[in-house]
């Protein structure tokens, strides 16, 4: 409410410069007041709406994650249990579910891990020696590097032979794999669709379609399509002698199925926003470059790509946040199986919640909150700032 009380006036349009000092009537005073509060009146409605639905749920679920909720006759009973719900995830009965089974890293795993650590150390050193380095900035970069290193260590150990990825690692695979592919596909399609070719409107509308379908619907549709006896691809599976196997038996094919569904649905989001960005970029620089004899690739590399980069970082951020919450596809398509191979963090929270372990579910959700906040902060602070500064 009072968040912007100390708001400064609008950056431009300072009233008073052109309004001569005369006795103002009521309506004129009203107008002057409206102009003075313009900056607040633009922002406050949104702040209020978000506040209304954010603080209360956040606080209540934080409390629930530290408690055990039992349904008793005529209501429920809440017992405060401290960090027990979180301890369960890291060292207790839920560890293999959440973190996975850890194995000794394979040689390839060691190589990846050492490379990542070297990269992190290098960037820290580079920051420390740069002009604008500050102690606080170094501290936060150190924290970010340590967390990233720990994440990679977890990835490497649970993906090595003998290990089994937990829901945390599976979610990371969905998120980073899916979002990368969606962005590249979306960009290629948007670039193709901005060309003045016959039938472009048809393609532009068609490419939007998958986004329109409810995720539950997409999940059922993909279950229908991937069915080995009733699905449309049955003859192909038969031809390859695969009709009697099932893709849900193998963890990696099951994960691939979930990711294909996700990519199918969300590439249009990337596509439409990038298309809008490409359409609204100014045309003059391109014309000038054409006059100077620049090739297609040069125009793309030096004009088009920089102009869509700010939108791209936002797009990727939004998709990252949404992708972390993937639930419908693994739930309907594979029911999280085989075992827990395709379970995402949200699905784990949902399943824990369904077994009436509300506290445990809130704890999983808060772990997800921490991971997403970390990824989002890194994306915004490091990547986005760098991209915007580079322009």
């Amino acid at each position: 409410m009072q968040v912007t009380k100390s708001t400064q006036g609008p950056a431009q349009a300072e009233p008073g410069l052109e309004s001569p000092v005369v006795v103002m009537g009521r309506s004129e005073r009203m107008v002057a007041w409206l102009e003075r509060v313009a900056s607040a009146s633009f922002l406050m409605p949104s702040v209020l709406v978000i506040l209304f639905l954010s603080i209360f749920p956040l606080v209540v679920s934080l409390y629930l994650s530290l408690a055990r909720l039992q349904f008793v006759k005529g209501g429920f009973k809440i017992t405060f249990v401290g960090l027990a719900n979180y301890r369960k995830l890291f060292v207790g009965s839920e560890k293999t579910h959440f973190l996975g089974v850890l194995a000794d890293p394979s040689p390839l795993g060691w190589l990846v891990f050492v490379a990542v650590v070297a990269g992190l150390v290098l960037s820290l050193v580079r920051y420390a020696r740069s002009e604008g380095a500050s102690a606080l900035g170094f501290f936060w970069r150190l924290v970010a590097s340590v967390i990233t290193g720990a994440g990679v260590w977890l990835l490497v150990r649970s993906l090595s032979p003998g290990g089994r990825p937990g829901t945390l690692v599976v979610t990371l695979i969905y998120v980073f794999g899916g979002v990368t592919i969606q962005y590249i596909l979306g960009l290629v399609l948007a670039l193709l669709c901005i060309q003045q070719i016959p039938g472009r409107r048809f393609f532009r509308v068609v490419f939007l379609l998958p986004m329109m379908i409810t995720p539950v619907g997409i999940a059922y549709m993909f279950r229908m399509l991937t069915d080995f006896t009733k699905g449309p691809f049955t003859p192909i599976w038969r031809a390859f002698g695969l009709a009697e196997t099932s893709w849900v038996n193998n963890p990696w094919t099951a994960r691939a199925a979930v990711m294909i569904g996700d990519i199918w649905q969300w590439t249009p989001f990337m596509f439409i926003v990038l298309l809008a960005a490409l359409e609204s970029q100014p045309i003059e620089p391109i014309e000038a470059a054409l006059v100077d004899g620049a090739g297609r690739w040069q125009i793309f590399r030096h004009i088009t790509l920089p102009s869509v980069l700010p939108v791209s970082t936002t797009l990727i951020l939004i998709r990252l946040i949404e992708a972390f919450k993937i639930i419908d596809l693994p739930n309907v398509l594979t029911n999280g199986g085989p075992g827990t191979a395709t379970e995402s963090l949200t699905l784990q929270a949902f399943m824990t919640w369904r077994t009436l372990d509300i506290g445990g579910s809130a704890a999983v959700a808060y772990m997800l909150l921490l991971v997403v906040t970390f990824v989002a902060l890194v994306t915004v602070n490091i990547i986005r700032r760098r991209v915007v500064e580079a322009l």
Partner: protein
């Protein structure tokens, strides 16, 4: 050119084939689905309207009411969130805000006190009014001592962070909230929730479009004496139509398809279509044919909307000609 068409063609097939399958499945009898795949109507199998008849005649009230709800909730909430969010993102690009950290912490503290008071049995109206009064008092005295303040980027990040927590985690508190406000199973509750959850996306997407609008235009208008509202409405908004349309489509789809919150906040009166689709997974296994009909009638209005609005995501015809 040929390569473009090959890529576009392949992706069109990837997009359209599942939809084609959906369409023909909605005309199949259960026997045609269960005995292995058939592809072409009239050749492989005889189309039947039984699923459509079942959904629109036998289940008439169970279909049409959620349909109306989905349309009303989807349109209202996306128009509202687009209006509020566009204004907010413009403000974040052009004005400077400096909320003090101390004031914000005080506010959050007062809200937590109010929540604790409500859980202890104080009526919520009293608790909210009291906590706001306490906050105003403290903000005037203690709050002013704090020097550090946030920047616009921090406000924007705070907004997007509202989408981070998975709905599974917040759904119980939101349920309790609307129960206290007597709004459970109403469209209003769904509209409020969807506006709040979709606002951050509008703010973030529109911010980038506004940043790309040259500030000189606005400065000229300001010198000519236009008010900030006037500048926003007659200069900024018309210039960012492609972005507005793309964002509107996205929030509309989001509100249209939301499942989990609708599952909790609505039962009989305000139920939306995604719940109806999920309900077709009966104990006899998923009823593919009914489900296909429901998914189809669900996507038809949004597709119509997309076709109608697609032309606005394009600028003048000359532009593309030079690029091609």
């Amino acid at each position: 050119m040929v390569l473009s068409y090959i890529v576009l063609g392949i992706w069109s097939f990837v997009v359209l084939f599942p939809l084609y399958w959906l369409l023909i499945t909605s005309f199949k009898l259960p026997i045609h689905v269960n005995d292995g795949p058939v592809y072409l109507p009239f050749i492989d199998f005889k189309p039947s309207l039984h699923a459509w008849r079942y959904i629109f005649v036998d289940l008439r009230n169970d279909t049409l009411r959620p349909y109306a709800n989905t349309v009303i909730v989807g349109l209202t909430s996306s128009v509202l969130s687009l209006a509020l969010g566009t204004a907010a993102s413009y403000a974040l690009v052009r004005f400077e805000y400096q909320p003090r950290i101390g004031t914000i912490l005080l506010f959050i503290g007062c809200m937590i006190l109010a929540i604790v008071a409500i859980t202890l049995g104080v009526p919520w109206q009293v608790a909210v009014v009291a906590s706001i009064a306490v906050f105003l008092l403290l903000a005037q005295t203690i709050g002013k001592r704090f020097r550090r303040h946030l920047k616009n980027d921090d406000i924007a990040f705070w907004m997007i962070s509202q989408r981070i927590l998975p709905p599974v985690a917040v759904v119980i508190p939101i349920y309790i909230l609307f129960q206290r406000l007597d709004l459970l199973d109403t469209r209003t509750a769904l509209v409020i929730t969807y506006v709040a959850t979709n606002l951050p996306i509008v703010v973030w997407l529109m911010r980038d479009y506004f940043q790309s609008i040259p500030i000189e235009l606005e400065e000229c208008a300001a010198i000519d004496g236009a008010s900030p509202y006037r500048i926003f409405w007659s200069i900024v908004v018309p210039l960012s139509v492609p972005g507005l349309v793309a964002t509107f489509l996205f929030v509309l789809v989001f509100a249209w398809n939301e499942y989990l919150l609708a599952l909790f906040l609505s039962s009989a009166h305000a139920q939306t279509l995604p719940l109806t689709v999920a309900a077709q997974n009966a104990t006899r296994g998923p009823q593919w044919w009914y489900m296909s009909v429901l998914i189809l009638i669900m996507i038809i209005p949004v597709i119509a909307m997309a076709i109608a609005l697609e032309r606005y995501i394009a600028r003048g015809l000359l532009v593309g000609a030079i690029k091609g």
